[in-house]
């Protein structure tokens, strides 16, 4: 019990002192996670929209495949991307391995199915009359899609936030593709794993607290925005 209490106390002191190493790790984590979330959002939201609103043969199978991909472990994604970007891989000459870009690529692949499936779920639930109303009022197909997007903005927002929560907390992709290089690709989760290996709990606990605070803040923000607009 004293280990946890001591760890927590020291971690709080570390956060309060704005320790440069801690700030650097948090900075890298936020940077790669935000980049991968934005990219996955830009790709996944329109893809989810298209799949939800269009009818094509194999639609149910496509949705099933994306649902299945939700369960893929991060290390499998890490391994897959590694085979492409390692020196002997197809994209080896691009020198991506152990860079932040490599982490971003892996994380995008990790959360893309999540963004797509949650967007499909949100768009499928929206009343089809919104689109029909927009069209009958003279909107173009794109403008009608924008109306639907507006109506599902909370669902899509929740999808993007869930995706961000997934990448900021993942360790497999960051470790395998980033290499945990101090000051460059060391993220909160890889640093926590390293500190645990070293038996140093203070930094690990401090990073854990920061991670929880970020997730909590994001969810509070989302709830506040939803509450304000709905009432």
């Amino acid at each position: 019990m004293s280990l946890l209490a001591d760890g927590l106390f020291s971690a709080l002191l570390l956060i309060k002192s704005l320790d440069p190493e801690l700030l650097s790790i948090v900075g890298v984590s936020l940077k790669v996670s935000l980049a991968s979330t934005v990219l996955a959002g830009l790709l996944g939201v329109p893809a989810g929209f298209l799949i939800a609103l269009s009818e094509f043969p194999g639609k149910r199978m496509t949705v099933t495949v994306f649902n299945t991909l939700l369960a893929v472990p991060t290390v499998v994604i890490g391994l897959l991307v590694y085979t492409f970007i390692s020196r002997r891989g197809l994209f080896g000459p691009w020198d991506l391995l152990y860079t932040q870009k490599a982490i971003v690529v892996g994380q995008v692949l990790l959360i893309l199915p999540l963004v797509i499936t949650l967007t499909i779920a949100a768009v499928s639930r929206v009343d089809h009359r919104y689109r029909q109303t927009a069209l009958t009022l003279g909107a173009s197909v794109l403008q009608a899609a924008a109306v639907v997007l507006r109506e599902v903005r909370f669902g899509v927002g929740a999808a993007v936030i869930a995706a961000f929560g997934r990448v900021i907390a993942e360790v497999g992709v960051s470790m395998m593709l980033g290499g945990n290089i101090k000051g460059f690709t060391r993220t909160m989760t890889t640093a926590m794993a390293l500190e645990y290996d070293k038996g140093e709990f203070v930094l690990a606990v401090a990073l854990g607290l920061v991670l929880l605070t970020i997730s909590f803040t994001l969810n509070v923000f989302l709830n506040l925005v939803q509450g304000r607009i709905r009432t």
């Binding site: 009343d127 009359r129 919104y130 029909q132 109303t133 927009a134 069209l135 009958t136 009022l137 003279g138 909107a139 173009s140 403008q143 109306v147 507006r150 109506e151 607009i229």
Partner: protein, 335 residues
């Protein structure tokens, strides 16, 4: 012609919901599409609003054939607005809802604000301009939806059961709005209803739809029953286990019959036995329709009878009077 439909067919999963050989709708009139639930009214409105394409057949809009796969469809949609039976308002303010059609038409902001105010005045909801649209009641939602449609300055406005989901007070308001927009703006208005009285009050022309087909007859005398034959081989349709209507044709078993209100005779006042007829009941409603009078007789079933104005006067029909009704076999059609 505003619309001309030829050999139009629409099916949903092997069920034909619309089968219209020929239908013409003239511009500048109020049309009522009258029919029971499931008769294809909403589907027809969605096709007329170019929101749904038919599976077969052709539609002519202002004497030009409509290509449902074409790029011009959006331009056509901008002339026709459909107000759904249960309209959805976008989750924003009332004024932004009304403004939507103007915005997509790239109308300048100043003109937009003026039109929004005018339209909200027209439907009596100016005070609600900045209210959240999803907080409105059903009747207010319907009125905002009409204002939103009118703001687009359409040539044609399609109203799907405009008063089906509103209370009696709002029903009268909505009906007045429809009359007002017809007289003030001269629009072509096509509305659906299953309410005969409403169609009679509002429409200049009524199109009866039954099982997806325009019918010349009136749909209100449609009953479900069982066809059987008596000892003399005379066919009858037993409705609700109590009412026997004679039928000239038909197979034994469950059936639907349509009783032509023009062929039913109100024989006299009094009971059926006294008059030698097969039904009797009380007059519940009388509606003047030009040369004829629509008489609603409650014989245990609501039976509509059409009589000439002279006959109406001669028989001194009034609401509450007991009458004997003769419903001959030639008036009953198995459908």
């Amino acid at each position: 012609m505003l619309f001309e439909l030829k050999n139009l067919i629409k099916t949903y999963q092997d069920r034909t919901v619309l089968d219209i050989e020929q239908l013409g709708l003239a511009p500048g009139k109020i049309y009522g599409l009258l029919g029971p639930n499931g008769s294809g009214k909403t589907t027809l409105l969605e096709i007329l609003g170019f929101l749904l394409s038919p599976d077969a057949g052709r539609i002519f809009y202002q004497n030009r054939p409509v290509d449902f796969s074409g790029r011009l469809l959006r331009r056509l949609r901008q002339e026709i607005v459909l107000v759904q039976q249960t309209p959805v308002l976008f989750t924003t303010t009332v004024s932004k809802n009304v403004e939507f059609g103007l915005k997509v038409r790239q109308v300048p902001k100043k003109s937009r604000a003026k039109t929004v105010d005018e339209m909200l005045d027209l439907v009596g909801l100016r005070d609600f301009a900045s209210a959240a649209a999803h907080h409105l009641s059903g009747g207010e939602t319907q009125r905002v939806a009409i204002a939103r449609a009118l703001a687009c300055s359409p040539r044609v406005i399609l109203l799907d059961e405009p008063t089906a989901n509103v209370d009696a007070e709002h029903q009268a308001v909505v009906e007045n709005i429809i009359r007002e927009i017809k007289s003030a703006k001269g629009l072509s208005i096509i509305f659906t209803t299953h309410n005969m009285m409403q169609a009679g009050r509002l429409a200049e022309e009524i199109v009866f739809l039954f099982d997806g087909r325009p019918t010349a007859g009136l749909y209100e005398n449609v009953f479900s029953g069982v066809i059987g034959f008596d000892g003399d081989g005379r066919g009858y349709c037993l409705i609700q286990g109590r009412f026997r209507l004679p039928v000239a044709t038909g197979q034994p078993g469950p059936a639907r019959v349509l009783v032509n209100p023009r062929l039913i005779k109100i024989k006299s006042q009094g009971t059926a036995e006294a008059a030698g007829s097969n039904l009797s009941g009380l007059v519940r409603q009388l509606t003047w329709e030009g040369e004829q009078v629509r008489v609603l007789v409650d014989v245990g079933l609501p039976l509509t009878v059409l009589v000439g104005f002279e006959e109406y006067q001669g028989r001194q029909l009034s609401v509450g009077r007991a009458v004997a009704v003769d419903c001959p076999a030639e008036a009953v059609e198995v459908i």
